[in-house]
Each structure stands twice: as structure tokens, then as C-alpha cells.
Amino acid sequence: MEVIEKKQDGICILTLSGRLDANSSEEFREKILQIIEDGAKKVILDCENLNYISSAGLRVVLEATKEIKRHEGKIMLCALQDYIKEVFEVAKFDAFLPIGGSVEGALKEF
């Protein structure tokens, strides 16, 4: 999986592409937790090119969501492919973080 980080209007946008699974989740976990530790309070995960997420990937998203909440910040998941959206819906993760809007919408909402 590839992660590209960019900053826009004080919002951290992480563009994910490829597979977020057991093989890539640990690296992504370290990266996003570091970003949160460095003080990012508004994080957008742009998932337009994310093709697959496993339960290990879900766990990392969940951990990051909890962690950023502790710092009074927020993560928004954007532009999910249908399959990935379904995975998050089955997991009922919409109870913890906003899922499925566009990146533009999320930028305005923050």
C-alpha cells in the first residue's frame, strides 16, 4: 500500500492506494499514530484508490480514531469504493467516524 501525505488549510490528507491488510497495516499504523502525536487534529483518509481492507486494516483505522479523539481531533474517511464502504458498514464503524463523503465535502466540513 502507498500512503501520500499532504496538508491543505491545516488539514492532513492521507491518500491511500492499494491494499490495507495484515502486511501493510503495521506501517500505516505507525505513520498515522505519528501524525496524530505530532498534533494533527483534522485528518482525511482519501480512499479513492484503496482496493482492499482487511480486519487488520479496520483495527488500525479504529485505533487511530480512538487516539485522535483523545487529542480532541477527528478522522474522516472519504471517497470509498463500494466494496470498502460495505466492509465499514458491516463493521458498523460509522458509529465511531464519518464514512463515505467526498474529500471536498470533508474539507468544507472541518
Binding site: S54, S55, L58, R59, L62, V90, K92, F93
Partner: protein
């Protein structure tokens, strides 16, 4: 030097064996004297043929191999050793005359790890041999640790299989079958059937996130909480809520998805709760197709306490096939990167195969295996199929 039939020289049984191969007796002697008394067992061969025989018998930890030799030359010895699974891991250092860059490259291409130039410099020989013996020792250590870890995982997996129902219960008016496969020794999937008062039964299928021991521990925890549930576990919403309360305290940064259904044999009713899990599948002969039973459910267990767990009620009919499953099956990939998926599973469940749940499950598992074309599963798979008589 020696003409001992098995050309062992030196006495330390535990020390590494190094085979020195050179057709030139002077070279052989220089190498021998350079490495003597440094804690290695030194073996010698004067030609390629002898070298191959000694390697097969003694399996040395390192070979110093001359290139130009009458008969089988060093390249050929190397090629043969690299083609033999029992000897291909033995590191080979080529001995080559100075300046013959082509020879060195060719040797490295054949799988040699290094080369030493002639005429030999004692310090260089010692340094390179020590380096490769150190690498060898580290590799052996890593391998030993890996073996120990795998043995441990196998033990965990065995304990885990022991937690599953030894045999499925006889339920009046219903036939059952289950399938369980962990992806790499221990896993996080779990299925269970518990008997409840008044012809009622509880069906559980759960999936602890992650693999190996941590997932297995969470799976065992879920099993213990369900089997040790105080009183009758006949209120599915309350069961899930209670299980989740304890799991939230012990799970840490992970989760367990689950589906739990209470079946009442008196009126064929089914009350289903689910936590971050896939909906159960239902094949109804009169409809001729398989559909998901849409259950609202809640998020996975172990994350946060539940306020309320929505319960979905439905009633089974004669001939119904009800399947609870974990995503290890639907997320089985093939070499082309495609996923087995829900549609294929539904198609298989809808096929006319009589009413033996075992045969239906076997056909589903076979179909997924054919689809995977030998690609191993990333995740555990648990399936529990109920066929209503």
C-alpha cells in the same frame, strides 16, 4: 593433512565444518594452515568429484572452492550443489586468481556468496570465512527460533481446535454441519452451538481480528464467556451485551465480530444479533435463491459498551438452508487478485444438492479451493450450516 576416509580434521564436534577444495596441494596447505586452530573442523578435497562426495556425506557449513580443476571444475561443483535441495543452502566462497573479474561474476551468478583472490592473504581468508560463518550461525539461530515459534503456534492451534464442539448436537427438525480452517496454525475464528432450555439452541460464529496467538486467545476468551454464561443464554441481545462488557475490559486495541442466533425448535423462530459481522445467508427452496437475512446489528465486540443490541427476528421453513460464516471464505483470493465473494457463495448454497448439510458445505469449500487455484487463504474460515427438515 590426512587421508582419513571421512576427512575430518580437528576435534570439536560442535564446531562448523569447512570444506577446502583445491587441486593444487600448496594452495590447499596454505588454506589449511591459515584456518587451522580457529575452532573450525576442516575437511579437504583435491578435486570436484571428491568435493561432491564429501559435501553429500558431511554437509559442511561452508565451502571454499577453487574454480580451475581437472575433471569437474568449481563452477560445475557449485551448479550441482545449488541444484540439490539438501546442499543448495551451503554457502560457497570461490577461490580465483587476481584480476579475473569475469570468473568472479560468473561464480556469484551461480550462487556463490563471495570470492577470495589468489595468492591468498591470510587476513583476508580469515576475515571472509569468519564473516560467512557468522552469517551462517545467525541464520541457524533465526531458523531455530522460527521453528520454536511454529511449534508453539501448532500447540496453540491444537488447544484451539479442542475448544470447538467435539461433535454437533442432534437437534430435532434440523441437520447441522460445520467447517473450520485456520490460515496459519492458530486463528481467531470460532463457532459453537449451545443447548438452551425449552428446545432452544444458540448458534455462535465469531471472528477475532488478527492471526496467531493473540487472535486465538481472544477466540478462547469469547468461547469461555459463552460457555460459562450465567443462566440460560436465551436472550440474544443480552448475551451479546454481556459478552461485550467483559471483552471490552480485556481485548485492548482489537475487536471480535460475531453473530449469535437463538433458534426455537417449537416454532422454528430465529432471533439474531450481530456485532460487526456479515449477515447470515438463507436459501429457501420455494424462492430458489440465496439471500442475506438483513440484520441491523451493532459494531464489533471489544471496542465500546453497547447501549442496545438490535434483535432481528425471522422464522425458518422446511427445506431452508441457513449459513453463518466468517469473511475468510468470501475474502479468499485467487492468483489473479480476484475475491471469492458473496455472489459465488450464494450460488453454491443455492445449488440442488439434497439436504445433507455436510455435502453442501463440502461443495462450497471445494468450490472456493478450486477458485483459489492453490493460493493459500489469508484468513481463517468458519462455516456453520443448518438445514431445516
Amino acid at each position: 593433512m590426512t587421508n582419513h576416509p571421512l576427512p575430518y580434521v580437528g576435534s570439536q564436534a560442535e564446531s562448523e565444518r569447512i570444506l577446502l577444495v583445491d587441486d593444487n596441494p600448496t594452495n590447499l596447505q596454505v588454506l589449511f594452515q591459515t584456518l587451522e586452530g580457529r575452532g573450525y573442523n576442516l575437511l579437504v578435497a583435491k578435486d570436484g568429484e571428491t568435493a561432491l562426495t564429501i559435501v553429500k556425506k558431511a554437509l559442511p557449513e561452508l565451502i571454499l572452492l577453487d574454480i580451475m580443476m581437472p575433471g569437474i571444475d568449481g563452477y560445475e561443483v557449485c551448479r550441482r550443489l545449488k541444484n540439490d535441495p539438501t546442499t543448495k543452502e551451503i554457502p560457497i566462497i570461490f577461490l580465483s586468481a587476481l584480476g579475473e573479474t569475469k570468473d568472479k561474476v560468473r561464480g556469484l551468478d551461480l550462487g556463490a556468496v563471495d570470492y577470495i583472490s589468489k595468492p591468498f592473504q591470510a587476513e583476508e581468508v580469515i576475515a571472509r570465512v569468519n564473516t560467512h560463518i557468522t552469517i551462517y550461525r545467525l541464520r541457524r539461530e533465526v531458523q531455530a527460533q522460527k521453528d520454536a515459534l511454529e511449534r508453539e503456534l501448532e500447540v496453540v492451534a491444537k488447544v484451539q481446535y479442542d475448544l470447538l464442539p467435539k461433535r454437533l448436537p442432534e437437534i430435532k427438525g434440523m441437520k447441522l454441519s460445520a467447517y473450520y480452517q485456520t490460515s496459519r496454525y492458530a486463528g481467531g475464528d470460532y463457532y459453537d452451538i449451545i443447548e438452551l432450555p425449552d428446545e432452544r439452541w444458540g448458534f455462535m460464529v465469531a471472528d477475532a481480528e488478527g492471526h496467531s496467538t493473540p487472535a486465538a486467545v481472544r477466540m478462547a476468551m469469547t468461547c469461555a464467556l459463552l460457555r460459562g454464561y450465567p443462566g440460560a443464554a436465551s436472550d440474544p441481545g443480552k448475551v451479546l451485551k454481556d459478552l461485550n462488557r467483559t471483552l471490552c475490559e480485556v481485548v485492548g486495541m482489537s475487536f471480535i465480530t460475531a453473530i449469535f442466533a437463538v433458534y426455537d425448535g417449537r416454532d422454528n423462530s430465529l432471533r439474531i444479533v450481530k456485532a460487526g459481522h456479515m449477515d447470515p445467508l438463507l436459501y429457501r427452496p420455494s424462492k430458489g435463491e440465496t439471500v442475506e437475512i438483513p440484520c441491523e446489528g451493532t459494531y464489533a465486540m471489544g471496542i465500546e459498551q453497547y447501549d442496545e443490541v438490535p434483535v432481528t427476528e425471522t422464522r425458518l421453513q422446511s427445506g431452508d438452508r441457513l449459513l453463518f460464516y466468517t469473511d475468510g471464505l468470501t475474502e479468499q483470493f485467487n492468483p489473479e487478485g480476484e475475491m471469492y465473494g458473496l455472489e459465488r457463495l450464494c450460488r453454491q448454497l443455492s445449488k440442488d444438492r439434497g439436504d445433507s448439510p455436510k455435502e453442501i458445505l463440502d461443495a462450497i469449500v471445494d468450490d472456493a479451493e478450486r477458485f483459489a487455484k492453490g493460493l493459500p487463504a489469508d484468513d481463517d474460515q468458519a462455516l456453520l450450516l443448518c438445514v431445516v427438515e
